[in-house]
Point group: C2
Chain length 511, copies 2
């Protein structure tokens, strides 16, 4: 690789004349044609072609092949605008298209037109949101959107608090941090060393971020206790209580339960009212990780799935998941007015000066762990303005309608077997069983599960090589690999569901 850094070691050096296009500002003379050409390519190739059913979801290359095809290396000399435009094209060409209707692979997808414009606008303004002084519009916009989201959750509109944060994992981390501070504020200065052991509870199907963030925050993974789930993947409140009692018997302090509304794999909704009762009884912070399922709150038809969420102390809700806002748009919401600030504020005098000429209660940055921070609110606010709550509701309802249709279709179809007969969310988990494995004899063979375990990876390889579909698979506990279709793109319809089913048959029937 030609190393850009190689000549940086020490003077004396030969200095070439400064390049003529190095300045960090747009110059209409130098850049206008380039910017507009680039935008045109982006709109045509990434936005339209990348989301068109006639295009491939991915043009697959192995790491070695891709390295050979796309010159990623950095050099001392810059490239011409013409070459840069060709890099724009190549980047689009070899990238996976999460906005493609047949990308049903993960808990994010879509390229929402209004979200995209909101994002582009934010980029052009390049703000950092920590004080009203430098981000007046986005400061007020955040409070408006977070207030509205708290109202949707059922929290008091006034009096709670909330933040935008870089992803659901971080939002869940804020929950742990707030719970700890609420229970033991002296730890902010003293730390956990020499203190009573603290324990966090979540279900065995919860997102891995609870454990990851508890490790980061000094709890240790042994102190994240995984509560059993029932046959539908929902937290068993009796097992929760038993584990809390056991924790107390050990002399440790149970501080928090993280319930999940929409688990990552099965899409299960934990029984929030039962969990609330346990939390209330043992004085634990109740957090709901609704990163995925939170979108359903905007649907009058489906918000019953999160019944009881209004009793929680805090909620993670990612508009970039079910509501299809662009990456990233994650929120942490709490009914408590001051805990975010109390737990995190550092009162840096250089940034949060108290002698400014305006009301510095609008300088909201100190409750965040981040200092500089993007205005992730803008894209979501713009989508909400464009569609209205009615539009967001129609979006959610269509996702659930597609999920129901898909589930009904495959429940009758030879070769498809549902993991859950009654999935609750817009994840549908199922096995595709090739013809060769459908006989009673094949099914009773001791290697059946082992063989079935290998089917989904093989089909996944084929769909990616072909570029016709992306749907993920995974094992769960002792279950062999199964597919998980995830729907959050509301431009899909029943015909697309039919296509996905038929394409899976084309990919797997001969296995």
């Amino acid at each position: 690789m030609p190393a850009a850094a190689e000549m940086l070691v020490e003077p004396p050096f030969e200095r070439s004349p400064a390049p003529d296009d190095f300045q960090s500002a747009p110059d209409p003379q130098k850049h206008d044609h380039f910017i507009r050409e680039a935008v045109d390519t982006i709109i045509n190739e990434a936005v339209y072609k990348g989301t068109n059913r006639e295009s491939r979801v991915v043009e697959w290359l192995s790491p070695d092949e891709l390295s050979a095809r796309l010159d990623l290396s950095l050099d001392r000399t810059g490239l011409s605008q013409e070459k840069l435009l060709s890099l724009v094209e190549q980047t689009i060409r070899y990238s996976v298209k999460p906005g493609h209707p047949y990308f049903v692979n993960q808990l994010f997808s879509s390229v929402d037109p209004y979200g995209l414009v909101g994002q582009w606008l934010g980029d052009a303004l390049n703000p950092s949101v920590y004080t009203y002084e430098v981000a007046p519009v986005f400061t007020l916009m955040e409070e408006t959107v977070l207030g509205e989201m708290r109202a949707v959750v059922g929290f008091p509109r006034e009096g709670g608090d909330g933040i935008f944060c870089p992803g659901g994992s971080m939002a869940n981390g804020y929950a742990i941090s707030c719970a700890r501070h609420y229970k033991a504020p002296h730890l902010k200065t003293q730390g956990m060393s020499g203190q009573r052991r603290m324990v966090v509870f979540t279900s065995e199907d919860a997102h891995y971020s609870i454990k990851k963030m508890a490790v980061l925050q000094g709890f240790g993974s042994d102190n994240v206790r995984l509560v059993k789930t029932d046959a539908r993947g929902r937290m068993d409140a009796r097992d929760l209580e038993a584990q809390v009692k056991d924790t107390l018997d050990q002399g440790a302090l149970p501080i928090m339960v993280s319930a999940t509304s929409g688990t990552t794999v099965l899409g299960a909704f934990d029984p929030l009212e039962e969990i609330y009762d346990v939390c209330a009884k043992y004085e634990m912070w109740m957090h709901v990780d609704a990163a995925w399922g939170g979108g359903a709150l905007l649907s009058r038809r489906h918000r019953h799935l999160l019944k009881g969420i209004e009793r929680a102390d805090s909620v993670t809700w990612n508009p970039h998941k079910m509501l299809a806002a662009p990456q990233q748009c994650s929120t942490f919401l709490t009914r408590h007015a001051s805990v975010l600030t109390d737990a995190h504020a550092a009162n840096a005098a250089y940034l949060f000066q108290k002698d400014k000429f305006y009301d510095t209660s609008y300088d909201t940055g100190d409750k965040h762990l981040q200092c500089g921070r993007r205005a992730d609110v803008l894209k979501f606010w713009f989508m909400w303005k464009a569609k209205g709550t009615d539009g967001l509701e129609a979006h959610i309802d269509k996702l659930f309608d597609n999920a129901t249709y898909f589930k009904n279709m495959i429940s009758e179809r030879p070769g498809f077997e549902l993991v859950l007969e009654q999935p609750e969310c817009t994840n549908i988990c199922f096995w595709y069983v090739p013809a060769s494995l459908r006989s009673a004899e094949a099914r009773s063979h001791p290697d059946y599960n082992h063989t079935l375990h290998k089917v989904a990876p093989k089909m996944k390889e084929r769909m990616i090589q072909k570029g016709s579909l992306m749907v993920t698979y995974q094992p769960l506990r002792d279950l062999p690999n199964f597919f998980r279709l995830v729907l959050q793109n509301s431009s899909l319809d029943h015909k697309d569901m039919d296509y996905i089913i038929e394409e899976l048959e084309r990919l797997g029937s001969d296995l």
Copy 2:
């Protein structure tokens, strides 16, 4: 406020027909005209006009006035595209313009044309970077750029590791987490409760994120010891060693020093070689927070400021600061190959399947705390491709040249007084002393400092109301409020420095 959420309570409800434009996908028929109109407005108003010297840096409105002028509220019904375009215009109008040449207020600025195109491209592709499967281009791009940055630091090109993370605060948090895991890997499972107290060292002028992240991670703020700085704001290595000894005498474990290359206020560069010696002697992790000053590594003229950084265990370096990449672009770099993964991996089976058809060592997401994650690499890679290392170097050299010019000009000018006679970085800290305070009598008055303390806030209010300039002020220890000019926009030249000086005189001479 009309509450979008109000009708969400319970059925029975009246359902209005679904709006006709709610889907999360671009439709050329419905959206093409809107998208192109919006982009045109964004380019003309935010990119060009927002960075033009003839425009205002900010059109100031108080929170109440802004709320009255810009309708942020969310409603059940969506808006027409025409109204949305007007919201685009209003958002631009009332936002501060960090890309404006006279925004010299913070450690970020500029709207780099190539960075912007890179950002827009990333938005249109809407990726999440955790597996090669869904982000092939960005996975390889990250490794290329991080490898190049490690080479620039002087780390071994092969064998180290690095990540993009959401801001320098988080990057510093990764350093603490890695240091702890390196010293005491058993804490990952066991947690800090019942363990020996651990202590982190940084200077009294270091960024507040060290304390904030240490609090988050269970150390407690009492266990962040602030080392004295010398007259130039640089960490005093003798005081460091004394405090380390004291910590050991107390029976606690010193685990890490976070040195700073380019402090937030004074722009000081800590003496890395001396600090390294103390770290080596007491077996502490040496971290360098070069979030701000790291850009100087790309200049053969100025990289001596960070001499010794190549000995560190880890480095925070934010290209969105001195290199003027768009927000956010932050990296954490380490010479250790496995510590990021060892400290953070959770091995989620649903995402990091080991039975994929490609080499899953390219699935790099598990070393991050975030799960879903934006491709912040793209904009910076694209800038580096466009300008080459020579262009980035020319950018850095111009910033330092402007800083030197500004410093020289004000050191001769009546009314201006430097806080540091020899600033090392592109922050220039100074007082503006109005004519009324310049006499020997005024200076010897017991209230002099108190009176001077109020000058900068008043001038700041005036410049914001006028929209002519944004430069921040702050106190430091017992020093009264002083201005801090920060340069990272390389489109500024000596004439702009003259303008800033003259504008400060216009704003403050009568005080």
